[in-house]
């Protein structure tokens, strides 16, 4: 074991908890669990009533295993209590609000006290260190800045690490490439599909990015073959980073130099794997839904939050020396939500748009593809007798209206294709609405 595995200057004192002996880590986890459950019970009516229904009190947490007795929290709870119903701190102590990219109806609001921001910064520093980034690195942060947690999360972590941050945010490929070359960028943070797009454009314009060494890629699912393609074509090392706004933002977990699973920063986020049907905690190594409890969050503690991401927990010691358990890279979700260009999309949002235009719900199918490195979403909509016209321009206008409404509802451009009646496959039981062809 060597904690010096990370590149020169890679070991950072902030990363010390990554290497805690398990017993010590579990002690920290139990203490924090007891305190966060107490805080949630005392300050958040929803948690209190749910715990009382089960005859639980904060003193019920005698061991880490007792966490399984606690009720789950789901995304709908955040929506139902919009905007501030789950806050456990008064506004005087809250220094930052972020909101989800979800665009139908109400977004999800998350809050941070200064201590929460410090934790976020800390886990982002630890993430960047695990990716082999250090002082002296020039980081191009191409995650979106704003309500989305990606941009600011990576930004504060990179600054605290002592690296040089270029807060370029997303978009404007030409400027991204100019900056990459002229500023001698050595590390980049963005979605993997956007990086592939940058790569292709760089080849066309003969941009020199030979100084670029590391990519920290997240906010959408990507495969090992996509990693190979990124690494082969660019010569950089590509790391997967995991996070979600509800828990903190980016920095819940990250791949170390081994790039064989993502270490979860377990001293702040307690992971469990459950059977998404029964809610039972699954044994080590079993595949299931990832559930996370924020152990140190103040403004908005979440107890047993169901992420809907499907993975497995690996407790085998990682050769990098970190004692933190890992999750396998996330490939799918237990509900039918999907993430495209950093935006969370539920098929129900597509249905909202279809209903708004057509009045009734036609049969439809969502197809996700990755073209020239960018994720594309196509919705195939069957033509019904109600909307069919013998005039081309009326059908084209229907198609454009569907596209405009979907863009409006989802916040991203969607290609609508009209298809013949009964041409889409019908499945028995639950309809399979999403076909994800995003492999590279």
């Amino acid at each position: 074991m060597s904690i010096w595995n990370d590149p020169p200057g890679g070991f950072h004192p902030v990363s010390a908890p990554d290497y805690l002996p398990r017993e010590q880590l579990e002690e920290v986890q139990l203490q924090r669990l007891q305190s966060v459950v107490t805080r949630a019970f005392d300050r958040v009516p929803l948690f209190r009533s749910r715990m009382e229904e089960r005859g639980l009190s904060p003193t019920s947490m005698a061991s880490l295993a007792d966490i399984a007795r606690l009720p789950f929290t789901v995304k709908a709870d955040l929506r139902d209590t919009y905007p501030f119903g789950l806050f456990a701190s008064p506004m005087e102590e809250i220094v930052r609000l972020h909101a989800s990219s979800g665009t139908t109806g109400k977004p999800i609001v998350v809050a941070y006290t200064q201590a929460d921001l410090d934790v976020w910064t800390e886990v982002m520093v630890r993430s960047l260190v695990a990716c082999g980034i250090h002082r002296g690195d020039v980081i191009q942060n191409a995650y979106g800045y704003g309500l989305f947690t990606g941009g600011l999360g990576a930004h504060y972590g990179a600054e605290a690490l002592g690296a040089t941050v270029i807060p370029i945010s997303g978009g404007n490929t030409e400027r991204q490439l100019m900056v990459m070359q002229d500023f001698g960028v050595t590390a980049i943070c963005c979605t993997p599909s956007y990086f592939l797009h940058l790569l292709e454009s760089a080849k066309e314009t003969k941009i020199d990015f030979s100084k670029l060494r590391v990519g920290v890629f997240g906010a959408e699912p990507w495969s090992d073959s996509m990693r190979e393609r990124i690494q082969d074509e660019s010569g950089i090392r590509a790391h997967d980073i995991y996070g979600l706004s509800e828990i903190i933002g980016p920095g819940v977990g990250v791949e170390c130099s081994e790039r064989n699973g993502l270490h979860i920063f377990e001293d702040h986020f307690f992971p469990e794997i459950i059977d998404s049907e029964t809610g039972e905690v699954l044994p080590e190594g079993a595949e299931g839904e990832l559930v996370l409890t924020t152990l140190s969050k103040q403004a908005m503690p979440l107890i047993r939050y169901r992420t809907r991401d499907v993975t497995e927990l690996v407790s085998e010691q990682c050769p990098c020396g970190r004692t933190l358990r890992r999750i396998r890279r996330i490939g799918r979700r237990s509900d039918d939500m999907f993430i495209i260009r950093g935006v969370n999309v539920f098929p129900s949002q597509v249905e909202t748009a279809l209903l708004r235009v057509e009045g009734t719900l036609p049969h439809y199918q969502i197809i996700l593809t990755r073209e020239v490195g960018l994720d594309q979403m196509e919705v195939k909509v069957e033509v019904t007798p109600e909307v069919f016209s013998d005039e081309i321009r009326k059908l084209e206008s229907l198609q454009h209206q569907l596209e405009a409404t979907m863009e409006n509802v989802l916040g991203l451009r969607v290609k609508v294709t009209l298809v013949g009646p009964r041409s889409l496959a019908r499945s028995e039981g639950k309809a399979k609405r999403v076909t994800d062809l995003r492999t590279v």
Binding site: V383, V419, G420
Partner: protein
Amino acid sequence: MKLQQISLFLENRPGQLREPCEALAAAGIDLLTMSLADTAQFGILRFIVRDPEQAKKVLEDAGMVVRMTEVIPVEVENKPGGLAAALMAIEGAGLGVEYMYDFGAASRSGKAAIVFRFEDPDKALAALEAAGIRVLAMEELLPK
């Protein structure tokens, strides 16, 4: 006389045109004339048969989306300038043409038939008569 035209939605992929034709063939339905409008993504097949209700049922039973639209067959001189003269009269009557296609010269000597889809078929019918343009009846269009 107004005719009931049948239109069908077709996707832009192989077999899409054949399927309705086979369904009609199996029912012994003869296509009198047809036209295909297409875009990059999809097409609309429009056609006229002797018994549109029967054809509609056959196609709907085969799972297709069918629409019936009123169109007007107009007689034009089958010689250079014949169509232009008819269009001049239609324009003069202030009628908006959605689309049109040929019904074939058929066996009518010196005459051709053109199918028109007007914005307002009833208004068009009256205006055509007033302009002295002959509107054909189904019997006149059937092959002899």
